[in-house]
């Protein structure tokens, strides 16, 4: 059974100018020990999907349709109290900004221990002991001293390691990492991603890696889902997707990655045009206005996500 199974998810936000649909009819799943990369530009709906899983959409956001099953249990049907027992316990999340995502006035150790105290009924003393082990596990040097320090005494990479330790504390079934390395130096990025990957394989948890970077980050994934304009364009095994991208948008993304083994001097291509305005989405395929291969019907109706062998794709041309 999948750890997480999302079916037909639609999420909207209330704004001053009306409802904005950030995620439309999105379906995806992750299996135990598997890493799924969700790739897209800002505004593609990838982060909103993550927040929807944890039901942290704020007062303005709302799940309109669809289901989110965690090991067979529908999260959309749970009460707020039941959700707080799942957050940080069975699902944990790592955010993009390690500099601001840790509480500046609470010692690192207590922040790492907090989920254990909340969900596993440990005392703070026991929790801190575990925090020490967790910090060691994410390769933070001298964890005994670090647990008593405040976040601003740690470097960005160390803080993100602390965030990972916090996310791992309760041995969650699912870890969602939202752009976990975007704010970090390139050398640190690879370390953090390798660490995340190793730890998920080791614990058998599922990992959802949200990123805008099809180049580096998604290479750590087993499968890749490409989102655009609040919809899934294509989902495929990573090896298949890199070897043979089918959706015009996926191809556009692939062509904009600099490649070492491509012809020397080949110009990097960019995708013409702007991402869609979610307040006024086009009636058809969200990518149609920018698509070089669009047909008449692309602009009339949304192409459904269709199964093709081991891949899902939403494109008219792919019939």
């Amino acid at each position: 059974m999948s750890v997480l199974d999302i079916n037909g998810l639609t999420v909207s936000f209330r704004t001053e100018t009306g409802r904005v649909y950030a995620v439309n009819d999105t379906s995806l799943h992750v299996d135990p020990g598997e890493t799924l990369a969700v790739v897209g530009e800002s505004g593609s709906g990838k982060s909103v999907t993550a927040l929807a899983i944890l039901r942290l959409l704020g007062e303005a956001g709302r799940i309109d349709q669809g289901s989110i099953h965690l090991e067979g249990e529908d999260l959309t049907a749970l009460s707020e109290l039941e959700m707080t027992r799942i957050r940080g316990n069975r699902i944990s999340m790592i955010f993009q900004e390690p500099m601001t995502s840790l509480n500046p006035v609470i010692q690192v150790g207590r922040q790492v221990a907090e989920p254990l105290v909340l969900h596993q009924g440990l005392t703070w003393a026991q929790g801190l002991e575990r925090a020490h082990d967790l910090l060691a596990k994410v390769a933070i040097p001298d964890p005994g001293a670090r647990i008593r320090e405040n976040p601003h005494q740690l470097s960005g990479g160390m803080r993100q390691r602390a965030m990972i330790a916090m996310a791992l504390a309760c041995s969650p079934r699912l870890i969602i990492a939202d752009e976990p390395t975007t704010a970090l130096d390139v050398t640190v990025q690879a370390q953090i991603l390798a660490l995340l990957k190793d730890l998920t394989v080791e614990t058998g948890a599922a990992l959802i890696l949200i990123t805008h970077d099809l180049g580096v980050v998604a290479r750590y994934a087993d499968r890749v889902t490409v989102m655009y304009g609040g919809r899934i364009m294509e989902t495929a095994k990573a090896t298949n997707l890199y070897r043979d991208p089918r959706h015009p948008y996926t191809r556009g993304l692939m062509n904009s990655i600099p490649s070492l083994d491509g012809p020397v001097g080949a110009a990097l291509s960019t995708i013409e045009g702007q991402p869609p305005d979610l307040a006024h989405p086009p009636p058809g395929c969200p990518f149609a206005p920018r698509c070089s291969q669009r047909q008449e019907q692309c602009e009339k109706q949304v192409p459904p996500l269709r199964r093709d062998g081991e891949r899902d794709i939403a494109c008219v041309r792919h019939d």
Binding site: S101, L102, N103, P104, V105, I106, P115, H152
Partner: protein, 316 residues
């Protein structure tokens, strides 16, 4: 932390110098005819008395040495003598300062215990009816002069119920109950006028904090809404409010002058007003200086506690 304290103390020196200069110069600006007026007012006409007053004000010496004599005296705890009571100004200050301090402290307690809970409520229930009422109240409190409120409290209970607030000062250690029942009314009025700004600030800060990334992290960890506010938001939101207490110290002392007059509290404010009407300049300048230095010290304390509360400052 030590370096922070030392840096903060050094930064105080120039301000202290300018503050002493302001007090000194203001006293040098007393026009000569004021001394004549003082003499006339108090039926003293001999030239000897005139010389005595000029000497008491230090006006018979060159300006530079006047300043250094004065500062030297101040550093030794000599603020001169009252012109009419002929008692040392320092003694009068020692007698009145604790009373004003008590009033200020009570007012601060009132202000914080009103402003902080309402400010927090207002922030977490943003745009609710309660938030609206709280904000309106704070806007009104910013506009109501404390002397009018004081007047209303004196007049209307007396007219309607034949009750008026006690106006007789009793020393705290003689009879704490009587002392508090006298002080509590001016303290509440002073505290309410202070609470307006504090409430606004608490609300703004809490709103700011609740938008931060680490609050989202706390929620994603499964911390309940209540604990998120208490454990993760409150301390971050209240650190800047502490600064505000320092900024409001002058307001507190200014308000104390008026309320001491209305409720006959024999503190520094009342002493200042009496001195002004008697033109007792050594007393005026003494209070002027002490108030300035007091505010500077309060701000110093606030800054130091800020360093204690905010780990970022502590470790710099």
């Amino acid at each position: 932390m030590q370096a922070y304290i030392i840096r903060r103390l050094l930064a105080l020196l120039p301000t202290l110098f300018f503050a002493s200069l302001i007090v000194f110069v203001s006293m040098r600006l007393i026009p000569g005819d004021v001394i004549d007026l003082m003499l006339a007012q108090n039926d003293i006409v001999t030239t000897q008395d005139r010389a005595r007053i000029e000497a008491a004000l230090g006006l018979d010496q060159p300006v530079m040495s006047q300043y250094f004599d004065w500062v030297g005296g101040v550093l030794q705890g000599d603020l001169g003598r009252s012109l009419w009571q002929n008692t040392p100004v320092v003694d009068q200050l020692w007698a009145t300062m604790p009373i004003t301090f008590e009033l200020g402290l009570l007012a601060l307690i009132v202000a914080l215990s009103v402003a902080i809970p309402i400010g927090i409520y207002s922030a977490i229930r943003q745009d609710s009816a309660g938030d609206y009422v709280a904000r309106s109240f704070s806007l009104v409190m910013l506009a109501v002069p404390s002397f009018w409120l004081g007047t209303l409290v004196m007049v209307f209970p007396s007219v309607w119920w034949r009750w008026s607030p006690p106006l007789e000062y009793v020393r705290f250690f003689d009879d704490p109950i009587a002392n508090l029942s006298h002080m509590i009314v001016p303290a509440i009025l002073l505290g309410l006028s202070m609470s307006a700004v504090t409430m606004r600030m608490t609300r703004t800060m809490m709103l700011e904090v609740m938008r931060q990334d680490y609050i989202r992290t706390a929620r994603a960890k499964g911390v309940s809404e209540h604990l998120t506010i208490v454990r993760h938001a409150l301390r971050n939101g209240l650190i800047p409010v502490v600064t505000l207490i320092g900024l409001q110290a002058p307001l507190l002392i200014g308000g104390a002058v008026i309320l001491e007059q209305i409720f006959v509290v024999p503190g520094m404010g009342l002493l200042l007003l009496e001195a002004v009407f008697q033109r007792d300049y050594p007393v005026i300048s003494g209070i002027f200086l002490i108030v300035g230095v007091g505010v500077l010290l309060i701000n110093l304390l606030v800054d130091l506690s800020y360093g204690f509360l905010d780990p970022k400052v502590r470790h710099q």
